[in-house]
Amino acid sequence: MIRFEDVSVTYEGACATTVRGVDLTVPEGELVLVVGPSGVGKSTLLGTVSGLVPHFTGGTLRGRVTVADRDTRTHKPRELADVVGTVGQDPLSHFVTDTVEDELAYGMESLGLPPDVMRRRVEETLDLLGLADLRDRPIATLSGGQQQRVAIGSVLTPHPRVLVLDEPTSALDPAAAEEVLSVLQRLVHDLGTTVLMAEHRLERVVQYADQVLLLPEPGVAPVLGAPAEMMAVSPVYPPVVDLGRLAGWSPLPLTVRDARRRAGALRERLAGLGPEPSPDRTDGGRSRRTEGSHPRPALPSLDRTDGDRPRPASPSRPGPEPRRPGPEPRRARPRLAPWRRRHGKHDAPAVPAVPYENEPVAIVEGLGVRRGRVEALRHVDFSTVPGETVALMGRNGAGKSTLLSTLVGLVAPTSGSVRVGGLVPHRAGPRELVRRVGLVPQEPRDLLYADTVAAECAAADGDAGAAPGTCRALVSDLLPGIADDTHPRDLSEGQRLALALALVLTARPPLLLLDEPTRGLDYAAKARLVSVLRGLAAQGHATVLATHDVELAAELADRVVILADGEIVANGPTADVVVSSPSFAPQVTKVLSPQRWLTVSQVREVLA
């Protein structure tokens, strides 16, 4: 269906070839997953199929790509529109019209299909994707999962033989992601559509793939093969594969179900070792919540946490290490230490960056937020103490972002009270507030205005009233090897997140909030983020993350708060909350239940 003949792509101004030596054939009716660390050219490879690379993006394409026997060199994207359907990363920038039904018809109108055919296909597609109830709704009013389904539907109506999807589930909550993936599976099974899909969150998609196209690193020829074989050599892999590699299972399990079948022996080995994994963490969480007024035992020292909570151990990772600037997970901690010392110099030398206090850094009582007739939050009680990491979870629109916005004063409460570091956030001036609480928004780019990293840092020092150079030192710690004159737009997603984090940390807020920090990050960038956030927690920063990423929550959070329809429905230590929940349980928990393990690193630690 799709043939790549010795394809390579070079962009102008780029020093190296982005994609090289692609020589393979994707058969009809297969779901092929494109896998690799970020920056290896997954999106470029997908673009060559629809003809957007190079017709739209520029650059030089060598070799030949043929889709359904049409050469993309001689056919422009619009002439391939009837055989290839493309959905990009952001469904919102895909929509041309304003209502669901018009959007589904748009592609067919462009192709000039007769009205009766269009009508029939729109009705079929509405049923196929479960959109019939939404047919007259303006697209702007749909939820993320619904929008993603409309975007897929809008390219399905012309009956393309190939569907190209770039990160279709990265912005979605677990349930909405399942919804989209089941639709894709149905297309492959029932209609014989060929699907080519790139996705970072492999734990969600790898079990649906018929084949995996692995791009191990930039400029290296990609390999197409069976999912289990590819996962055995891939530098990026989901936790279930990590567990399989650790236990030495062969062939590697790709689904929780496969893994459970083989996990009997492993469960026996682990049986006596820790039915209550990470006791320090759960106890810590509990004691902090229940004995808030008592003097808390000193936080574990850096060395101890290092021993107790190993990073997702990169040394044991086979395959080529992703080459990205930034601290390696293991090296991050020692690098953060000097930064802490540097901070100490600015105020009292012996005082740590954030004074440990027993009182909570944020107290939310009976919080209600109304927008028009919708209650975004209702009777929310929440507090967090220094050194604690809390994960806010729940479906899209459950009120996670609203709660974070309230904590940082962007939203005024309708009822109840919010106090952060003794201030009422929505009444406080921005200058005082940044020293109490910092938020890294879902789109870290929103925080960046200047055109170089150095200018950004200077501005941040000024805004926070910190000594000149404070921010730059933070950037060097979080993002080593970034030149002063780099434009923030040229950074990768993970680097941009680190820069935004450094800007926010310049004012040293005791409370740090992150909204969907792992969107668009690959596993390596995620592991670095985890180690950075652990380092901050060890220094006494309280961290609240709103996330859909159950693996991140399992790895990082002391406590998980689940919101539904603006109310807190669960609030407790991570292990207690996620173990019992089918949608929020991480893969390792599902594989090893009824034992209560959360992450592969815990298991690895015990077995070592």
């Binding site: 529109a81 109108e109 007259d136 028009g372 899209n396 928004p441």
Partner: protein, 438 residues
């Protein structure tokens, strides 16, 4: 009466709807439901019909300065909007037009107070100090006597303008602008798409500005004031540019701009007809406006118009596009359009019969009276759309719409992607809402 009071005819959950007792509904709702079916795409009014209705009301407003009649027109327009507008984003523009109308009245009054008015008057309300102006500024007055007559005249004048604006706002709220543009001839289709894309970009741009201004607060800078607005200008433009490039790529990949091969002869004829037609239109207009050209002006203008239209029609052949469910101009559309035209006709006729009633005296001041016949015409004819136009489905206020708008407010740091609750949660909530008698 708001649309919220209407009984939902088809709840999202027929099973639930069948179980619950019918909520009490106002008696007036019953005949309205019998006359007009619930709106869906098949029976949707042609957007042109709404525009003709609204422009009819506007024409009527331009024929009178009687404040009672103008208020009646505003009331009629407002009632129809309240009864028949949907939850779509464009439907929310009505409030903005009403505010604009109020601003126009305010500005008109302020001008009358400070810059004086040519209306002679005897009832002095207040005397402002007059600023002496040099000779060359003769005829301009700043400050001075403010008379009741001048104020009343300004009020009537402002009210007339505000009514016009509100009528346009009503058309905007009731007719989907994108669907109106879809009715354009094929050759103008691409221009139509450009307008539609611009229409959807404006809200995105505003949401971007608000989001970035909110983000300034996160950096510890004040998020209000002009400087804040200026500083986010560049990132906002960057974002808009990126979004338009992404949209252009998406449109290209979906077949936008595919053209059919047309014979060279047809292509050349199209070019000749269109160009020649436009030249003809220009020459004809020039002829009409100059003294010596009146003889040939009109025929040339008409010939030019015909040629240009033929060129457009022929040019449509290049486009391979087809139309999905175009709006049909049915009997209900005729009724709505006729209603607007009838109101306009009624006021034009009565303006020639009884000019005094439609233009109440300002000098000397007199209380306006409501002329019965025109008022009855406005009420009975103008309100017709509220009866015959298909009723929008009952509001599902609990779910997506308000939340989506709230997300676009500066208060949210989230991207403007609407984060309405996903469907499983939305359905039960909707039925909860509809259980409450409103």
């Amino acid at each position: 009466m708001t649309t919220g009071e209407r009984t939902p005819r088809e709840g999202p959950h027929p099973r639930l709807a069948a179980q619950r007792p019918d909520p009490p509904s106002p008696a007036s709702a019953a005949p309205r439901r019998r006359l007009a079916p619930q709106a869906n795409r098949s029976n949707a009014l042609h957007p042109g019909a709404w525009w003709i209705w609204a422009l009819g009301l506007g024409t009527a407003a331009s024929r009178t300065s009687n404040p009672l009649l103008l208020a009646l027109l505003i009331g009629v327009a407002g009632y129809v909007v309240a009864a028949r507008r949907t939850e779509a984003p464009w439907a929310r523009s009505y409030g903005a037009f009403v505010k604009l109308g109020l601003a126009v009245i305010g500005i008109r009054l302020v001008f009358a107070v400070f810059l004086g008015s040519p209306i002679p008057g005897t009832h002095t309300v207040v005397s402002l100090p007059e600023i002496p102006l040099p000779d060359w500024a003769q005829g301009v007055r700043v400050g001075g006597r403010v008379t009741a007559e001048a104020l009343v005249f300004a009020l009537y004048d402002g009210l007339k303008l505000a009514t016009l604006l509100i009528c346009v706002g009503a058309a905007n709220a009731l007719a989907n602008p994108a669907r109106l543009l879809k009715s354009l001839p094929g050759a103008l289709y691409e221009a139509g798409v450009a307008v539609v894309v611009a229409l959807t970009f404006a809200p995105h741009l505003i949401a971007d500005v608000q989001r970035l201004r909110a983000a300034r607060r996160l950096r510890g800078r004040p998020d209000t004031g002009l400087r804040g607005l200026l500083q986010v200008g560049l990132p906002v433009l960057e974002g808009a540019l990126e979004r338009s490039v992404a949209l252009a790529a998406a449109m290209d990949a979906r077949g936008y701009g595919r053209t059919a091969r047309v014979p060279d002869a047809v292509r050349r004829t199209t070019a000749v007809l269109t160009l020649g037609g436009l030249v003809g239109v220009c020459a004809g207009t020039y002829g009409l406006l100059t003294a010596e050209g009146t003889a040939y002006g009109l025929p040339v203008l008409l010939a030019g118009l015909v040629a240009a239209l033929a060129g457009l029609r022929l040019g449509g052949r290049r486009s391979v596009r087809t139309r999905y469910r175009p709006d049909v101009w049915g009997p209900r559309s005729w009724l709505v359009a006729a209603s607007g035209m009838a109101v306009a006709a009624a006021l034009i006729v009565s303006a020639s019969y009884d000019p005094a009633a439609l233009r109440p005296g300002v000098v000397p001041l007199s209380a306006p009276t409501l002329p019965l016949l025109p008022a009855a015409a406005v009420l009975l004819l103008g309100l017709l759309p509220a009866l015959v136009a298909p009723a929008p489905p009952p509001r599902t206020s609990g779910t997506a719409m308000p939340e989506a708008t709230a997300k676009a407010r500066p208060t949210s740091t989230a991207r403007p992607t609407a984060k309405a609750p996903s469907e499983p949660s939305a359905a039960p909530r909707r039925s909860d809402l509809s259980k409450e008698p409103s």
